[in-house]
Amino acid sequence: MAAEGIIFNIQSFSVQDGPGIRTTVFFKGCNLRCAWCHNPESWKFEPQIQFYPEKCIGCGNCFSVCPNGVHVAAEEHILRRENCTACGRCADECYAGALALTGRRMTAEELFRRIQVDQPYYQKSGGGVTFSGGECMMQPDFLAELLHLCREAGIQTAVDTAGHCPWEKLERMLSDADLFLYDLKAYSPALHKKLTGVENGQILSNFEKLLEYGARVIVRIPCIPGANWEEIPQLADYLAGKPVELVELLAYHKLGEGKRKALDMAIESFTVPSKADMQEMTDLFESKGIPVRCSGV
């Protein structure tokens, strides 16, 4: 086995993506386009150049090394992204850190060695490794090998997925994954499509199959006033009585806006829910007997 994948971040001491102390590995590439996404660099499967103009010192290195004329000195430094092949030469020469290449290809073995360093933290805390994204299910060979390597080493794993994939792909992970962090973003197919670009029939079907199989599942629901807020109560009804380990209500935050700007992507801003709003929503889930936790406020 020598599966290779592309990732854009390794975050150790992660305490928000599953139990205990974890390392979260962010896979690059996603098949959803959530309007609020706080990891917009995760959408494409290829490396991308991020540009932080506030760090630019005007050295001009990027202009001289780029073979495709991507960097243009107009009134301000702009990028002709349509010409960019993400070769990374400009980022290599940008010592001020204004340009960064996001996305790095690694073999499963390479990545495994990196995450294994923190194994004592996982063991002591009941933590492990969370494979997130992007959508980690979009790189199934890479993911499957990583899960297997972790299993063999005795490292607990979690797969953080939106579940929009053929069931066979998820089924393949069941033997090695210890936990699924399963995102539910809206209840109705229409709203789901409006917010993420896809309907949620396959997502809910896969979710139910996971539960039927007896997988450990933590449901994660982003809570975004003006987007999916109105449908969250319907998700509560849907989840009532289902054997999920926990439902996590994640309050929307705006931390992804800077990253969108760095990729020249349009910024769609939503309202950040108040603590009281989140408490109300939490109470609703509790009233239905659903194990729930709120975070992000």
């Binding site: 010192i57 001020a96 850190g97 923190d118 933290y121 002591k124 805390s125």
Partner: protein, 726 residues
């Protein structure tokens, strides 16, 4: 899990009153000391207008020698104003270090002028020569003998040994008499206050204070309160003399008194908490709680350990308490409680880690049983109470100087290359280490006739019995520490040259050198090129390899020989204290992109902002780096973690931190200093220190009011908090 101690509102109010006074006094001290105090936030009281006229032994105008110092210290203790806080259980305060009032030090002919040139060349401002007070007392000696017993002991051994020169015993006798007179003055002052007091509790409290002090003048302490008062007297005098600051294993020291008083029905838990809080109000002496019996068969945590934590938590002022961490479940209840208080208070105890400290000590040739007995009783340092003279934290070798001289030499050679740079670096490092070793021989020869440990000798095993100062064979173990600093600065500099000059050839040696020598003037792009490499702490970086290589060579160099003349044992350490600004101030630019005057790296830590590229900053990333480069001989090279509590807001935050601490211990770490406030809080306090006058932070091994620190020291803490945003 031990239940939290129940403390009534009345006792909470008394403890709070001491907290409020401390904040108020701190403002007064700041005004008197020019706006900031970067050292340990000692508990001294600033007595405006108090002066002291020393009796110097000769025309040199220097106060030196045991008798002269002892007699002057005795006079000083008789002249400083008496002090009793109305809501404290204990009497006394200290009025600032003695050397602020007397020109105390090495007599002119004993000054190390022969080292001046080397010290200047290599920026050695802390050579260890004349280093004081970096040993730990065994307070069971004081508890066994009491003040009268100590006096009797000094007199008996003077007569029994009948030395040709009684200077040593005369000085020690004067110190004990001074302590007794200080005690008597506070007894009388407490009586005086009691007579005037109308509040029934306070009146009774003053009377009790007077009785306790009177008892201590006549016999050893017998009750918990008397033991606390004895410690307060000791730490007031100890701190006065060269800012001594070690108490020892506080829970075990107090446990016999607590158990006896509770059995006798004369002490409640809340009274005990109040008395301990009063002791912490008196001074920030370093002490340890937890740990194991020497044979490792039982944990030392007791109910008293929790009383001590509770007192520190309720008082909520700077205090220097360490929880000893080891790998057994008996460690966990106390560790967990300490972490809970840090999450509530923002800072709290530090964590002294057994694995690195004990295994390292066994590498010095000592048995594990002895290693377990070492207590964390200094900013970073640990010592065997009463039997070890380790002199940690009194030397600094700024290895960046060795690097810069090496760089100059290889550039002058006309054929610069990494191998030669390394060889020259090692040569300069050797000169620096040997300079300290020579200096320690000098220290051994001269310190005892100049500035003997007149207070700590009384509480060590040997000095009084032998008639010898602890620095010169008074105690059994002498193992002198040498701290090498700027590890990351040098490792990153080597790595920057290797990557940018040797491997990538983006710069020639000459271009790099010219940029460094010009302090990167007009060469910002080159500076950033050199700075923005994967730095020490980044997984798989070249800098990590350099850091390990430097650590290994430094440790080997220090251990390669004993001191040349007296064959004293020398031990490597890596602790910079908070002095990274001071040591960077006169250091020219370095190839890691650091400009002239910028701070050097801290102890064995990576620089803030080290995590770049694929990896994001995390506490574990930093912890792993620090654990990997420990000098490994039992002396602490601390890890500072400043964790945003927002990140730990979920239930389980305390468990997470406990795991972090345990794993750092397992990986060979030695000391962990933890702050847990929000980034927003630290930003606001930095911008406007007065807005949060009682925010306490752990600077390095010691804690302080954040508002007391200079802007540079505050910046250190802020940089650590915001290291993921660099």
């Amino acid at each position: 899990m031990e239940e939290r101690i129940v403390v009534s509102d009345a006792y909470r109010a008394r403890i709070r009153s001491m907290h409020d006074t401390k904040v108020k006094l701190n403002k007064e001290k700041l005004a008197a000391y020019g706006g900031s105090i970067d050292i340990d936030d000692h508990g001294f009281i600033y007595f405006d207008g108090f002066t002291f006229q020393p009796d110097y032994p000769d025309e040199s105008g220097v106060l030196y020698g045991c008798r002269a110092i002892g007699q002057n210290l005795r006079r000083f203790l008789n002249e400083i104003p008496v002090y009793i806080h109305p809501d404290s259980a204990l009497t006394g305060a200290w009025a600032g270090v003695f050397q602020n009032f007397a020109n105390i030090g090495l007599r002119p002919e004993d000054r190390p002028v022969q080292f001046a040139e080397l010290h200047k060349k290599y920026g050695i401002t802390q050579s260890g020569i004349g280093g004081m007070n970096h040993l730990g007392p065994d307070m069971t000696i004081g508890f066994r003998d009491g003040l009268p017993g100590l006096l009797e002991k000094v007199r008996w051994y003077r007569q029994f040994n009948a030395p040709a020169d009684t200077d040593f015993y005369d000085g020690e006798e004067a110190v004990v008499l001074g302590m007794m007179e200080y005690t008597a003055r506070h007894r009388d002052y407490a009586r005086e206050l009691a007579e005037k007091e109308t509040d029934p509790f306070r009146r009774a409290n003053y009377e009790k204070m007077a009785d306790v002090n009177d008892a201590l003048l006549n016999r050893p302490p017998r009750t918990f309160r008397e033991a606390c008062q004895f410690l307060a007297i000791f730490q007031s005098v100890d701190r006065t003399y060269y800012a001594g600051g070690a108490l020892g294993q506080l829970d075990e020291l107090l446990r016999p008194f607590y158990e006896k008083d509770v059995k006798d029905g004369v002490l409640t838990d809340e009274e005990a908490v109040w008395m301990i809080a009063s002791l912490f109000y008196n001074d920030t002496h370093y002490s340890q709680i937890g740990g194991q019996l020497p044979d490792g068969s039982r944990g030392l945590t007791s109910h008293v350990s929790f009383l001590i934590l509770e007192a520190a938590h309720l008082l909520h002022i700077p205090y220097n308490l360490a929880v000893r961490v080891y790998e057994d479940e008996s460690c966990d209840p106390l560790l967990r409680r300490a972490v809970e208080y840090i999450l509530e208070d923002g800072s709290g105890p530090s964590f002294s880690l057994s694995e690195g400290i004990e295994t390292g000590y066994t590498r010095q040739g000592h048995p594990r049983e002895l290693a377990r007995m070492r207590a964390k009783v200094g900013c970073n340092w640990v010592a065997l109470p009463g039997i070890e003279y380790p002199l940690q934290d009194v030397t600094r070798l700024n290895l960046a100087w060795a690097f810069l001289y090496a760089l100059d030499e290889v550039m002058e050679s006309g054929n610069p290359n990494l191998d030669d740079l390394w060889t020259h670096f090692l040569a300069h490092m050797k000169i620096m280490v040997n300079c300290i070793k020579d200096g320690y021989d000098w220290h051994y020869e001269v310190v005892s006739r100049n500035t003997p440990e007149v207070v700590l000798n009384l509480f060590c095993h040997g000095p009084i019995e032998r008639g010898v100062n602890s620095a010169s064979g008074g105690v059994d173990i002498i193992n002198l520490n040498v701290d090498g600093i700027a590890l990351a600065t040098v490792a990153d500099s080597f790595a920057a040259i290797e990557q940018r000059v040797v491997r990538e050839k983006k710069l020639t040696w000459q271009e790099m050198y010219e940029a460094v020598k010009s302090n990167f003037e007009g060469k910002e792009n080159i500076r950033l090129m050199l700075k923005n490499i994967p730095r020490f702490g980044n997984p798989d970086s070249l800098a990590n390899n350099w850091a390990l290589k430097i650590r290994d060579s430094y440790v080997a160099e220090v251990l390669s020989s004993k001191t040349p003349k007296h064959h004293l044992t020398v031990i490597p350490g890596m602790f910079s204290h908070g002095d990274v600004f001071a040591y960077g101030k006169r250091l020219p630019a370095t190839p890691n992109g650091r400009k002239y005057g910028d701070p050097i790296s801290h102890s064995a830590e990576p620089d803030p902002g080290f995590a770049q590229g694929l990896v994001s900053f995390s506490p574990t990333l930093k912890a792993n780096a620090v654990a990997s480069v420990q000098p490994g001989m039992g002396n602490s090279a601390p890890l500072h973690l400043d964790i945003d509590v927002d990140m730990l807001q979920r239930a389980g935050g305390a468990d997470t931190l406990c795991t972090l601490i345990h794993v750092h211990n397992q990986m060979g770490g030695t000391l962990l200093n933890l702050n847990c406030v929000t980034k927003e809080q630290i930003r606001q306090a930095h911008a406007d220190p007065d807005s949060q006058p009682d925010l306490v932070v752990r600077v390095t091994g010691y804690s302080a009011f954040f508002a007391s620190l200079s802007k540079e020291y505050r910046q250190q803490v802020v940089d650590r908090y915001l290291s993921d945003e660099k």
